[in-house]
């Protein structure tokens, strides 16, 4: 596998091997010496054309723990400003010998354009492209769910997971629907009708407009960030009405079944889609998601870059 652009690039076996590899690498991160020599001499570029501190730091930590050299291009910094095109930036990176580019961009499909173009030859890892996908987030979410709920199984069969919020604009939702269902879970999307995309009936998941109806029967609930700009575009009348119907508060937390967990990809709008009680309570694994993110990203970098690309098409060997 040369690129990771979408969850559709992964078979179920591939996805599980990423989770298993992350599990081993997590142990490294817990030990006294957090560094491994595995990607020494490799150059990895973080091409972040959209602001994101946490994802960029997570990928940077992952790359450094594997001893790779990391170069950061961010929108507030050097090259990506209005006027310098994706093509020019990619050709600059190629000239610098980037083995892999981790790209976060506001345009859906930007990662694929980079991978399909002849502008550079390294691996491309999609760290979030517009409203399309965010594969590493879904993988760390699946890893977190598996760790807490799978009782030793290597996949997520039998689990029921709700994703709540602005599905229409969420790349996290799209990647998670694809991955969680691929791993055997049942996914239900909960949102007001205005925030569900046309054609969502054909996705491998269920739909509901009623959070209270769904919440008592799920093993995990994933809250999506709601952007305040959406109010001016009339997706819902105001913040109060949104929170009342779709916010995670203490009452809804109490209604959840025993052992069920609360997740959020971050950053959170405390008080809007999730109250402080819910975010900081006993069911919340939100902080752990962040730590798991580093292990998952180490696993992705390892599997994409450590081996030989020529043999990489045949998948993982043992």
């Amino acid at each position: 596998m040369k690129h990771l652009l979408s969850i559709n690039d992964l078979s179920k076996v591939d996805a599980i091997s990423i989770l298993d590899t992350a599990q081993e690498l997590a142990r490294v991160s817990d030990g006294p010496m957090k560094k491994l020599p595995t990607l020494r001499g490799r150059t990895i570029v973080n091409l972040f054309a959209e602001d994101s501190t946490r994802t960029r730091i997570s990928f940077e930590a992952a790359a450094k723990r594997l001893s790779a050299d990391v170069i950061n291009f961010s929108s507030k910094g050097s090259s990506i400003s209005k006027g310098e095109s994706l093509k020019d930036t990619a050709q600059t990176l190629q000239a610098m010998g980037a083995d892999a580019v981790i790209i976060r961009h506001s345009a859906s499909g930007a990662a694929q354009r980079l991978a399909d173009s002849k502008w550079m030859s390294g691996s491309v890892i999609n760290a979030g492209d517009g409203t399309h996908e965010h594969p590493s987030q879904a993988l760390l979410d699946a890893f977190t769910i598996r760790k807490h709920l799978s009782k030793g199984a290597d996949d997520l069969t039998g689990l029921r997971i709700a994703i709540v919020g602005d599905v229409l604009h969420s790349r996290v939702a799209r990647s998670n629907v694809l991955l969680l269902s691929k791993l055997g879970a049942q996914v239900v999307l909960v949102a007001p009708p205005t925030l569900l995309p046309v054609g969502v009936e054909s996705w491998p998941c269920q739909i509901s407009y009623d959070l209270d109806e769904v919440i008592a029967n799920v093993d995990a609930i994933m809250m999506l960030r709601i952007q305040l700009e959406r109010m001016s575009e009339m997706y819902f009348p105001n913040a109060r009405e949104y929170s009342r119907y779709f916010g995670l508060n203490s009452d809804r937390i109490r209604a959840m079944k025993a052992g069920a967990i609360v997740m959020h990809p971050g950053p959170m709008n405390r008080g809007l889609e999730i109250t402080a009680d819910a975010a900081d309570g006993a069911r919340s694994v939100i902080v752990e998601q962040v730590a798991n993110g580093v292990s998952i990203r180490m696993a992705i970098l390892y599997l994409l870059l450590a081996g030989n690309q020529e043999f990489a098409e045949t998948g993982v060997s043992s």
Binding site: T38, G307, N308
Partner: protein, 177 residues
Amino acid sequence: MSLALPAPDIARALIRISHEILERNSGSANITLLGIPTRGAHLAKRIASAMETIEGTSVQMGTLDITLHRDDLRMRAPRALMPTVIPPLGVEGRDVVLIDDVLFSGRTIRAALDALGEIGRPKSVQLAVLVDRGHRQLPIRADFVGKNLPTSIEQSVVVHLTELDGADEVLIEGPLP
């Protein structure tokens, strides 16, 4: 293909190695056995069990995966990681005995030393192998050897263990020197 070591010889070798380790280290109190997956891990379990029978006390035993420290990663497709399990007393200040099935170029053990170095600082590191087939490419030697098997470089040594392959045997395959 020829049978270099049949099952009874393997069993005797492992018993002898267990005694030798205990003798060299004056008992098992400070010993931590770490088997290198896949077959080294099974051998470590057997040796730990034998040592427990001889001494009457439990022995610290675990596994040490060396994949991430290999120097030949770029030469083939990415390898799956095996589990690394460090026993409760850790490795700090202890006499660690690495256990593997075959000692050949020495690169695996070099990687194991690197992996071990990132976990802690043992008092000493010793190496026990079932088979030493020569052709070292690095200055590595084993402290405890089940059997020395002279081989030519074109041959390969295949170790089968009951836990994985249904039988205990060591085979040599390939052209005769």
